[in-house]
Structure formats: structure tokens, C-alpha cells
Amino acid sequence: MMIKKNLLLWISAALVYLFLYLPLVIVVVFSFNDSRLNAEWVGFTWKWYGKLLHNREMLGAAMNSLIIATVSAGAATILGTLAGMAMSQNRLRFLPLLVLAPIAMPEILMGVSLLLLFIMVNMTLGLLSIMLAHITFCIGFVALSVQARMSSMDPALVEAARDLGASPWRCFREITLPLLMPGILAGGLMAFTLSIDDFVITFFTAGVGSSTLPLQIYSMVKIAVTPEVNAVSTLLMLLTLVVIVGASRLSPAIFRGE
């Protein structure tokens, strides 16, 4: 290795890290600030978190978010695992297109086109419509995660089991599934955070009384910048952090260059 530590490179990279983290640090710090204005440090307080606990709308929205994320991640994990397995085993042309296109398109397009669909079939917009929408955009991420895991799997294992007389189902249950598990779990956790964080698609597919945390944050932020938003943002960040670090432990590969 002859590459010298290039000082210029390191400084510019450090500045970019600063750019990435400073804004988030400001949000967290001001969530403990004893002032209505997010302007200067006055003193430490827990009161904005206390206020959150008594904010019924916020608690309802948090509840909705959790229900939606759990159901959508569950369903997307099953569908995405099937898609990922199918994609890595066959030279399908149509399925990868269908799985990847929702990831590649601007989110707003999925939002408005699903709105058209739901209204056409006379569906009341609410938790169900949000879940159906979230499953749609989560499938691709799970599929990619499972496919990555699948491609690192030795096909000889399954063939050996088949030669020894195991049924396809038993083969799947005792070999393929356990080996795929980290990929499946990581994909599921990713789907969970994508769902809990989604704003754009939820915005178009939510109805009266089905507000989620991001929608709640949006409507608060539209009116004014308040420390209560900082507090809920901090909690949301903490939740995502825990889930994502968990997912990256399970399957480090999927977080590199998707």
C-alpha cells in the first residue's frame, strides 16, 4: 500500500461527516432545551417529552405507525422472500422489473396512482390502504436482501439433501430457510423502518383518523417549529437507530452499494 494518507481527502471527508450529523445533533439538543424557540440554549428540561406523553393525537399516530409497520413488514417479508428466491433461481425477466421498478420511481407517483386505485374500487382510505401501499414499496427491499443472501449460498447443499432423499419441502425447511434467515430478518427490519418512516406514499393513501407519526410531524411543522417536534423526532431516530443497527448486524452485505 503506497497510498499516503491524503490530508486534503481526509479533511473534506470529515467536513462531509459534519454536514451529515450537525443538523441531527441540533434537533436532539434542542429537544432538551427549556425554550419555545429553537434558537439558543436556555437550560435543560424533559418537559417536551412529558408533553408528548399527554398528546393524544401524537400517541394515536404512534400507535397507527406501529400497527402499520408491523403488518406491512410482515406481509412484505413473506412476499419479498418469495420474490428474492424466485429471482435468484430463475432467469426471470419480468419479475425483477416488477420488483425493482417501485424502488426506482419517484415515490409521489406510487402515492397518487394508488390513490386512484383505492378510490376506483371504493375503498375507504385508512389503515388498510396505507398498509397495502407500504407492502408494495417494501417488497423490493426484502427481495434484494434475500437475493443477496441466496447468491452467497452453496447450491450443492440443497442438491446433496435432495440426493439423500429429502423432499423439496423438507429441503426448504431444513436447509434453505435457516441459511436465508439473516437475509430475511434484515430485509424485514428494513421494511419495518421504511414503513414507519414513510411520509410521501402515506400522505396520499391516508384517510381521516389514520394519521401516522410522519404525517403528524408534517402537520405540526407546517404550522410552526416547536421543541415538541424535536422530542418526537429524537424518539423516532432512536427507534430507527436500534432497528437498523440490528439489521446491519444480521446482514452487513445488504447495506453496501445496493
Binding site: 419479498g80 418469495l82 429471482m87 421498478a101 386512484l116 378510490i119 408494495t136 396520499f204 437507530l241 453496501r256
Partner: protein, 295 residues
Amino acid sequence: MQRKAWYKYLLSLPPMAYLLIFFAAPTFLMLFATFRYAGEYGGLAPWYLQEGGRLTMDLTLENWQRLVESDIYLRLFLKSIGYAVATTLICMIMGYPLALMIARSGRKHRDLLLLLVILPFWSNFLVRIYAWMIIFSPVGALTRMLNGLLDLIGAAPVTLMYSPTAMLVCLVYVHLPFMVLPLYANLEKHDFDLLDAAQDLGAGKWRRFWLITWPLSLPGITAGSILVFIPVLGMFAIPDLLGGTNGIMIGNVIKQQFMESRDWPFGSVLSMVLTVTAVAVVLLGSRLGARREGR
């Protein structure tokens, strides 16, 4: 081996069916909606029973005519493309050194450095916008400091909030990881022997970069650019919260057509144009990528 095939296809059926219903069908529905009339109270005009008892509806080209009648929408598209191009370029300039630094740091630190890029990207999208609303707020430290400086040299005070600058900074902030990740994936694979050889032959630092690293990283740049360009093109939340009245992008007008003025057919027209643009960009990008691979 043959018998394997059919139940592998069976595996793909449930996700395929789901995505056909909830992704492909809505897209065609949207295309169809561009030829329909708006309903009296918004939405789409309902189907009605013809005299013969047949369900029918009226179709029109009016919505598409409206798109081309004035240059408002063309300009709006060009402006959105302008923001997308600017964001992509800035992300590239900021992301390249970072990706390069991570790719060239020791194996031990790489995963951590990479995780540090990804983490902010997984924090909530709105929270990341909100952070910049605090930073750019008129009572915030940055604005007051800047205006203090401007005051010293006798210039008029400025507001940072609701400006194209604020929007651009936030657009870059939100999309930067999309550029860094594919770039890193590419840079990591480079063969250091090439750089060694170039150095032995007397090439300087910059020459080595421009003749070796840069051309080899072009596929990574293409991938990153697509990942940044497309979401920015359809963005509505950032202009909505940080852009003010001048910062409207095509996404804002689509949102307005669907949620406020409730002219769904025209909203669908704008969405279709956005879809076609996005698909064109993806195809162009993958074509470029494929050609480089071939060389």
C-alpha cells in the same frame, strides 16, 4: 433438473400478483385517467349508464392539450430538472472525497465509516428536513450571524428560509448517501496495483486520479446520479417546507392537483410526464453503464 422449474415459478406468483395489482395496474389506471374528465366535485367523472344499459364514460384529450397550451408546465419541468441536476452535481462533488476516503481506509474502519454515512439516511425524512428548518430559521444562530456580518459591511439583511439556497442544501443533505454508497461500492473494487504502476512510471497524484481512478469510477457515478436525480425530480416535501412560493417543483403541482384542486385527470397527466422522464433517465443511465462495461 427439469422438474425444479415449475415450483420455482410458483414461488414468484404471489409477489408478482401483488405487484401487478398494486403497482402495474395503478400505473395503467393513471394513464387511463389522463383521458378522462374531472368529476364535478373533484376526482374523476363517474361512469354512467347509457340508454342501452351499457356502462360508459366520456374520454377527452383536453388534459393533454392543457399541458402543451402554455409554457408554464414546461418551465416547471425544466426548473425541476435544473434542481435535480444541481443536486446531483453537488452530491457528486461532496460524496466523491468521502467515498474515496472510506474505500482507501483500513479494512477495520471501513464498515464503521460506511455505517456512519448510512445512519442519518435512515433517520426520518421529515426530521432531516425539519433540522434544516431550525438551522435556516430567521431566529436561528446562522441567520443572525450572517446578518450581523452583512450589517458590518453595510449590506441589507437576508432571509435564508424559503429560498432556493435553503432548498438546495436540504435536497443535497437528504440525497447524499444515495451517491456515496454506489460510489463506494465501485471505488472499493479498484485495483491498487494500477495506481502503484502509474506511480512507478512517474505519474503525479492528480494525474493518477484523472487517468485511473476517475475513469474507473464512472459506472459508480452513473449509478449514484440516477439514485439522486430521480427522487429529487419528484420531490414535493422539501419545496413545500423550505422553498417558499418561488421554490415550487413539479411534485408540488402534482400534489396540489390531487389533494387541493382535485383535478385528478390533469394531475395524472403531470404524473405520466414525470413517469416517462424517470424511465428515460433510468434507461439512459443503464445504457451508459452497459456501454462502459463493454469497453
